[in-house]
């Protein structure tokens, strides 16, 4: 008996459903042109003229539902709702069994705030159709339209009792409870309603998801009390996930996937997709767990792909043991599709590289035949970077030697630079172009190219060694090595301020001793670089470091000096922002 419902957006509550259903009914019996004129006038905002047409139609055909509904739409705006009552009464008298006409009369009485008359109409309707939900629903809709939530709720509760169906009006009562701010009540109604209407789960999640933050924990407690049925668990899990509690969400959700079924597989995938919209480590973790469960539940060709995808997600969260287990299952599965096999192998080699097992990764890379050429090239680059991180520049070079892609050229440029070959590095970076690798790679290369342009030497082993230390993450050693390199005759000939600036930047992010050295370095660059680009950049770094050291007055002096002294510098906008921050004109971020 309940009208078909779909996932509705907010603001399209009870009344719209009823109204639309009636309009559809009405459309079948349109007596045509006169009523059509009324619609056109109404659409054009000429409500009084439209009302005249509708009244005329009703004089000729008293039960014309379209005309009655038209009047119901236009008369309230004209302040003439009382005029609807006689025509609605006449229509109902002429066709007493017509539920749509009864609805109009009921809504009219409610709209006119005549509760006793409304009740009498509803009770006559109930007496005529004692097993029908419609009278209660229409009455409640009418009350809800007048924002009389409590009265609407009472009608539905009475209806539920009179009909002897505890599940009746569950969705409507849930909506009403939510609108009244009774979120726990809404959660209870939704939990009960879902057993008879599982397709409403997304709508329930959407509605309850709007609950203000203070109510959320109480809603979760309602939904997770005892051992709730699977649909209630899924509702609670979705809500908790959307409210930023992914681990608790998974703990609630996972038991609903215990029994293998197609439904459970779909639910596992759905949870993983929801979690993918969040980027926190906890969300990534539960996504991986959901994908792993999906891989267990999936059957047929999708199972292999699901396992590979789960393994990748597990690797992303650092769970190499679980990932390896899943990957080996794919490798053993001769029925897994070739693309799933390739994905599994790629993921496995990547896991070995990320785990520092470079030798084993290199061996697998060499002997594995199921990898695509594209994946093989990507893994080679990753492996070469791994070797660089371990200081094995020659091995890195050997790994990318056969590769002539722009990404490989860029990596070869770094390798040349770490060996001290500045000129070669510059040529390779230029050959690689500005778009090789990701955005960070490109930015790093551009900054390094700017440094290389200032340091005119063709080769400079001390600088290369310092930059390799930086690439390996040894910042303290890198800062000292860069300062040392800046004292080299090659740097004194050209590029010394830029090398010092880099040394200062690295040192500024270390401990107090290194920071002190960085302050001296920045001072020297500002003093000696004249109108070069390094001077304003160093002064900005200087100011930022002073701010971090809780010396805002000194920082402000430097920032103002920078802005006024180098108005054309690219760092001036950032300096202004820092100045605002130091003065307290914008929040500390």
């Amino acid at each position: 008996m309940r009208p078909a419902r779909s996932h509705r957006s907010r603001g399209q509550g009870l009344s719209r459903v009823g109204g639309l259903a009636l309009l559809v009914l009405a459309a079948r019996s349109l007596p045509a042109q006169a009523i059509g004129q009324g619609f056109e006038l109404e659409r054009g905002g000429q409500f009084a003229q439209a009302a005249a047409i509708y009244f005329a139609t009703l004089r000729a055909e008293p039960t014309n539902l379209s005309a009655l509904l038209g009047l119901e739409r236009v008369l309230p705006g004209l302040g003439r709702l009382p005029e609807l009552l006689p025509v609605a009464q006449r229509a109902t008298s002429a066709s007493p069994a017509n539920g749509a006409l009864r609805s109009v009369l009921l809504r009219t009485y409610v709209g006119l705030n005549e509760p006793d008359s409304a009740r009498a109409v509803a009770q006559r309707w109930i007496a005529a159709a004692p097993r029908d939900e419609a009278p209660y629903r229409e009455w409640a809709i009418a009350l809800e339209d007048q924002r009389r939530h409590e009265a609407a709720r009472a009608v539905l509760v009475d209806g539920r009792r009179a009909l002897g169906r505890p599940e009746a009006f569950g969705i409507e009562l849930a909506e009403l409870a939510a609108r009244s701010g009774e979120w726990e009540g809404a959660a209870r109604e939704w939990a009960a309603a879902l057993s008879g209407a599982p397709a409403q789960l997304p709508y329930a999640a959407s509605e309850l998801g709007e609950a203000p933050a203070p109510h959320r924990d109480r809603i979760a407690r309602v939904l997770t009390a005892g051992d709730p049925p699977p649909l209630t668990r899924r509702l609670a899990g979705e809500l908790l996930l959307n409210w930023g509690q992914p681990e608790r969400a998974w703990a609630v959700y996972a038991p609903s996937l215990a029994a293998p079924s197609a439904d459970a597989a779909v639910a596992a995938r759905h949870f993983a997709d929801l979690a993918a919209a969040r980027t926190t480590p906890a969300a990534r973790r539960v996504r991986a767990l959901a994908l792993a469960r999906y891989a267990e539940l999936a059957t047929g060709p999708v199972a292999g792909r699901a396992r590979a995808e789960a393994a990748r997600a597990l690797l992303e969260i650092g769970d190499r043991v679980a990932a390896r287990g899943v990957l080996e299952a794919v490798a053993r599965d001769s029925t897994a599709p070739a693309d799933a096999q390739a994905l599994a192998q790629t993921t496995l080699v990547a896991a070995l590289i990320d785990g520092g097992q470079l030798g084993e990764a290199a061996q697998r890379l060499a002997r594995e035949t199921r990898l695509t050429e594209e994946d093989r090239a990507t893994l080679r680059l990753r492996l070469a970077r791994g070797w660089i991180a371990q200081g094995e520049v020659d091995r890195a070079d050997a790994t990318v030697a056969p590769d002539s892609s722009v990404e490989a050229l860029a990596l070869k440029g770094w390798i040349a630079l770490y060996r001290g070959g500045l000129k070669e590095a510059e040529q390779l970076f230029r050959a690689a172009g500005p778009y090789a690798g990701d955005r960070r790679d490109a930015t790093d290369r551009t900054e390094t190219l700017a440094l290389l342009e200032r340091v005119a030497a063709d080769s400079f082993a001390e600088l290369g060694g310092a930059l390799l230390a930086l690439a390996r993450g040894d910042s303290a050693r890198a800062a000292a090595a860069l300062r040392h390199a800046a004292d080299h005759p090659l740097a004194r000939a050209s590029g010394r301020p830029d090398i010092l600036l880099l040394a200062g930047r690295v040192g500024a992010r270390l401990g107090p001793v290194e920071q002190q050295a960085a302050l001296a370095v920045f001072a020297e660059v500002v003093r000696t670089d004249g109108s070069g680009a390094a001077a304003p950049a160093a002064e900005l770094e200087w100011a930022c470091l002073l701010e971090r050291r809780l010396q805002p007055a000194d920082a402000i002096q430097h920032l103002e000096h920078l802005i006024l002294s180098y108005p054309g510098s690219a760092v001036v906008p950032e300096a202004r922002r820092e100045l605002d921050r130091a003065k307290g004109a914008i929040p500390k971020s």
Binding site: R10, G11, H215, H558, H561, L564, K583, P587
Partner: protein, 433 residues
């Protein structure tokens, strides 16, 4: 003397240009010696919001400035000088040195068009009504003032009822709930530490000031604020302060507060008993009786916290007034954009049918039943109401990170706030409405 004082004032605000260590390397600023500096407020401006601060400090130093209404987005004309140039440069405010001939040409254009030049003569003394325990970055006006570098004092119930408003030219109210119901968050956020603190503060203030309940205290504060306007003050309110101030004024003789606020439920006949002749801007509103719904009445068109009635955001358009005939509304809508993206607040907008006939609509959403930005007179003073919480945070939620205005230096929504701040600086006899 005035110019020397201005240099000192700027130094205090911004810190000295350079300490002894840096003095030797600070380059001299080129003082071209033009007659005036034009701060263009069209799309070419580098920082629209800070331009108001630069202008304010000029006027604060006792130097006369001019607001060129509708001229290049509502530009400012300042006398030239190294201190002003320095202040503008540090702030990232773009200025154009203009000689007398260029100024004359601009005046000719202003005379021949829907533009006007309004002298700015006295920096208004600004007060922001804010509880002592309010977080520093949760008020759009406070943020705008701090970003622009315009000094202000904070006042609360003790200062208001202690008669201290008379010291100020301009008073801002933000999301205070003058119905005394703690923004109707009492039940929704029960147990939240910040709410407990708010309740404690207000209850303590009511007791110390001799009121039985917080709603009674807030009604008295609302009346005092209305008197402040009647006596010539400039009132600017945003968000829920707009709606609740008028509700508190209209409810002088009736209980509109829920039981959690004053121990007794709202008078069931409250709607009928409201006396709108006491209110500033609204009339005929119906109260929201449900204490669990954080909505006060049907004044607000968007009803952000009433699930079933919530309306989506659109954009609002500023009206174009006659600069020479209606300088007040013209000042209040100076902007480089005519259409501004809307933003929610506990009170986002004002239903047209709830406005008093004398209200001036400054900005509205075309075709919608609500308006966004209104202004009117009361006694010798002026009030302006601007719906919404934060022009650059459309969906502001409690606990959201504060807006960083250095990322929004051209914010047209924030410009409207700063128009109001500088408005009292305009020479009064020039204002015809």
């Amino acid at each position: 003397m005035k110019r020397r004082a201005f240099v000192t004032a700027i130094g205090r605000y911004g810190g000295l240009a350079a300490g002894a260590r840096l003095a030797g390397i600070l380059p001299a600023i080129d003082d071209g010696g033009a007659a005036s500096l034009l701060l263009p407020m069209d799309e070419s401006q580098g920082d629209h919001l800070k331009a108001y601060g630069v202008t304010y400090r000029v006027v604060q130093a006792g130097i006369r400035a001019e607001w060129l209404l509708n001229y290049r987005g509502g530009s400012f004309l300042l006398p030239d000088g190294p201190a002003i140039r320095r202040d503008a440069s540090l702030a990232g405010v773009r200025f154009e040195p203009v000689d007398d001939a260029q100024v004359s040409a601009a005046r000719g254009e202003i005379e021949a068009s829907n533009m006007d030049a309004v002298p700015l003569e006295r920096a208004p003394k600004v007060a922001v009504y804010v509880p002592p325990n309010a977080p520093p970055w949760d008020d759009a006006v406070t943020m705008a003032l701090q970003y622009a570098g315009i000094p202000f004092d904070t006042v609360w119930d003790f200062e208001v009822l202690g008669g201290k408003l008379a010291r100020y030219d301009w008073l801002h109210l933000h999301h205070e709930d003058f119905t005394g119901q703690y923004s109707k968050f009492y039940l929704i956020y029960a147990g939240a530490p910040w709410l407990a603190e708010m309740v404690r503060f207000n209850a303590d203030a009511a007791k110390r000031l001799g009121f039985e309940t917080v709603p009674a205290l807030k009604k008295a504060v609302a009346r005092t604020i209305r008197d402040y306007v009647a006596n010539g003050g400039f009132l600017f309110a945003m968000c829920t302060a707009t709606e609740t101030l008028d509700l508190a004024l209209a409810a002088e003789q009736v209980d509109i507060a829920a039981a959690f606020a004053d121990g007794t439920p709202m008078d069931p006949e409250a709607d009928r008993k409201l006396d709108w002749s006491r209110a500033l801007a609204f009339r005929g509103a119906h109260l929201e009786p449900n204490p669990q719904i954080a909505s006060f009445s049907d004044i607000d068109g968007h009803q952000v916290n009433a699930l079933a009635r919530r309306q989506p955001l659109g954009a609002f358009k500023l009206f174009n007034f006659s600069a020479k005939i209606d300088p007040v509304p013209t000042i209040l809508v100076q902007n480089h954009r005519q259409v501004i993206t809307d933003f929610y607040g506990l009170t986002t907008s004002f239903l047209r049918e709830r406005l008093k006939p004398a209200d001036i609509v400054l900005g509205d959403e075309e075709g919608a039943p609500w308006v966004k930005y209104i202004n009117g007179d009361h006694g010798k003073g002026t009030w302006t109401f601007y719906g919404g919480h934060d022009p650059e945070d459309q969906q502001h939620q409690i606990g959201d990170p504060p807006t960083d205005l250095s990322l929004h230096p051209h914010s047209p929504g924030y410009r409207l706030i700063l128009n109001n701040v500088l408005f009292p600086a305009a020479k009064k006899r020039e204002l015809k409405t």
